[in-house]
Symmetry: C4
Subunit: 233 residues, 4 copies
Amino acid sequence: MTEHDDDRPRQPGRTVARSDPGRAMAFSDAVIAIVITVLVLDLRPPDTEPGGLLAGLLDEWPTYLAYAASYVYLAVIWLNHKAAFTRIREMDIGLQWANLGILATLALVPWPTAVIANTARTGNLADERVAVALYAIIGALLCLSWLVFFSYLARHPDLTHDHVDDDYFAHERPRALIGVLLYLAAGAAGVFIHPLVASVIFLVLPVFYGITSHGYDQGPSFLRRGAGSAKSS
Amino acid sequence: MTEHDDDRPRQPGRTVARSDPGRAMAFSDAVIAIVITVLVLDLRPPDTEPGGLLAGLLDEWPTYLAYAASYVYLAVIWLNHKAAFTRIREMDIGLQWANLGILATLALVPWPTAVIANTARTGNLADERVAVALYAIIGALLCLSWLVFFSYLARHPDLTHDHVDDDYFAHERPRALIGVLLYLAAGAAGVFIHPLVASVIFLVLPVFYGITSHGYDQGPSFLRRGAGSAKSS
Amino acid sequence: MTEHDDDRPRQPGRTVARSDPGRAMAFSDAVIAIVITVLVLDLRPPDTEPGGLLAGLLDEWPTYLAYAASYVYLAVIWLNHKAAFTRIREMDIGLQWANLGILATLALVPWPTAVIANTARTGNLADERVAVALYAIIGALLCLSWLVFFSYLARHPDLTHDHVDDDYFAHERPRALIGVLLYLAAGAAGVFIHPLVASVIFLVLPVFYGITSHGYDQGPSFLRRGAGSAKSS
Amino acid sequence: MTEHDDDRPRQPGRTVARSDPGRAMAFSDAVIAIVITVLVLDLRPPDTEPGGLLAGLLDEWPTYLAYAASYVYLAVIWLNHKAAFTRIREMDIGLQWANLGILATLALVPWPTAVIANTARTGNLADERVAVALYAIIGALLCLSWLVFFSYLARHPDLTHDHVDDDYFAHERPRALIGVLLYLAAGAAGVFIHPLVASVIFLVLPVFYGITSHGYDQGPSFLRRGAGSAKSS
């Protein structure tokens, strides 16, 4: 029950167990697809008296907002996952577990989403504070799992493709760390100021993250890290 | 955390971040497979008194009809998705989000389906009007997401395969737009005339769409857009 | 929004819309994987008083049996699906819909399974008759969807690989037809004799089907249809 | 409806039905991805009075622990499954059923996990004993399904890649057998000593299994089975 380089017989001298990222990518895709879909499928017909359907549907607006925010968040994560894996040449057992850590925290996202949607319906302020704090903790954990993933890749440049800058993943770490801090700050703001403040930050953060993350390479050329030099090396 | 052309080193001069559609296709397949299956799996044993199972099962007929209609609708969407992606050579971040928009609205379909099935059971006319209006809005949103997708591809012909007509996706736009209008019209008919009218249109629309969509190229040759000329170009 | 031979530019003269079975296979795998897994995941902790867990778990034995039978049934279907698709070279829109028909009826299986498990718990004989009749109808529908699939392939030998006997799928039809009749007969036996008779047949049928289906080619050589001659043609 | 070597026409003389492991691997990945994700998605907002959310969330700690343990267990299984399949060249019908056996027992894991989490909440000692016994039985069954899988491969060395030691899978059997015994021992300790003892073993076992399993090949070289000699053969 081990994982070694049987599928790459061209390197018989290697002793460390490694494998092609193909199956890990397909597995991750399946997990993210399930989480993002189940999140949307969690929308159920409201439990209303006959004649009360319209009011029941309109009352659910915080739910719609919460699910939209989480959908965008998970979509951004999938795009980042896809982008990261185009740079990975092979995986060792440490990277497998780092990836499984991302998948575990990512699969948690629908849970605080449902908790926030629930408390928004009942409208108890103490519960709303707890709910945004929970969302903030899961959001921070998710960024933390990316920080671990990037750090592992930064310390193991031999796992990436030859044309990837050796310090590419080292440069990704601050972005993940900032995510950890921003989610914790949003949670603190939700607890000590007002849950609505946290909710707005939860809505804005993934959008901002999505734009900047891809703007990084697609923005004005002087902002782009030397992709050309990486390729020529 | 960006997406660029690492996986296609043969085009070192490109600066815009692009990727192979393979993983987006697999991800979409997984999402559509989950939605279409969960839709069917939503059928549950009726909650009846001992001895009342037969009556309970027969009473559920609007549910069976609603699920059959949504299944055909989602199957038509999957076939169209598959057909569209055979024409896509590579994806940029805009096309990724256009595709994620289709997946998000598509995953919403089981929700109004369950709402319609619920109201059909209770038989409150006001609720039935709201339910068909909701279904119409989601149906229109789904067609709208396809309109955005086709428009994006029409404006970016460099993302499609060489043998695809430059105006292929421009020609697909009216079909999506007509879908938006037909779903809204069906919803209006359901609200102002009778919910049953809307339900019949919801049942017929996907079937009609499915037939005409494929008849487009498979019908008599004088109806087919010049596939030959596209290929010779 | 059509499906034609863009992905196989080597046959520019073809006018009928066809596609590679790859994505249909992946989609079918995903649907069957979801159905078979959700079936098992439907097992929930019994709703018992404190201290009553053991009795609660033991009382569920008809559920375990029902799920085991459906799991084996779905597993046999997946193996048959896989075996059929190794013979399919390309798919047209008719075959796509025949396959979507199999997937739709297959996804229904957990529903009568749960209905049977429910009635077995309450022990009302009238309900048990209805439940086995429902299971028989879904089982027959599933065999019917295979009959349609095989008939379509029998009438379109150009969709199969060159080394497949032209009458291979014609020879598969009787097996599907027998399945339709056996499920209906089991249902009738359940209604007119006793539900237990039907339940036993439901348990035995997939096992018998699974064994004979693969024995067809793996049994003594004089039972095997001329695979060699098919290959030499 | 059979499975033979159509997809590998290069061996026309073979009479036994065999197939490429590709589709079985994709199917297994999908099943494991669904099980591991649904396990996490099973976390729901606690059903609390307004203002009681924090206490409700904190009360759920046994649930979090139970899900964490099962997640790690399923992740270890996926890694082992992936590692085993890199050694498999082709599958016959017996190996297909052995794999379907692993998938069936693996999909059962969320069930005793939820049962344990439930009883931990109610705190009835008799129920807790039953719950850990159930978990132990499912855990033992899962190891047993691996034992069957390894034994089948040990008896059919022709199904593995040429560079795999003929006794590789024979050597894997004791590890699976030890798993059966350890889970049964943990269950017995839970019933006759205290459920907490079993719970701790359930938490530790997968971690221990995960480490030793991969340490097997990655540990000091004198512990590694002669991978080099296997390759030279």
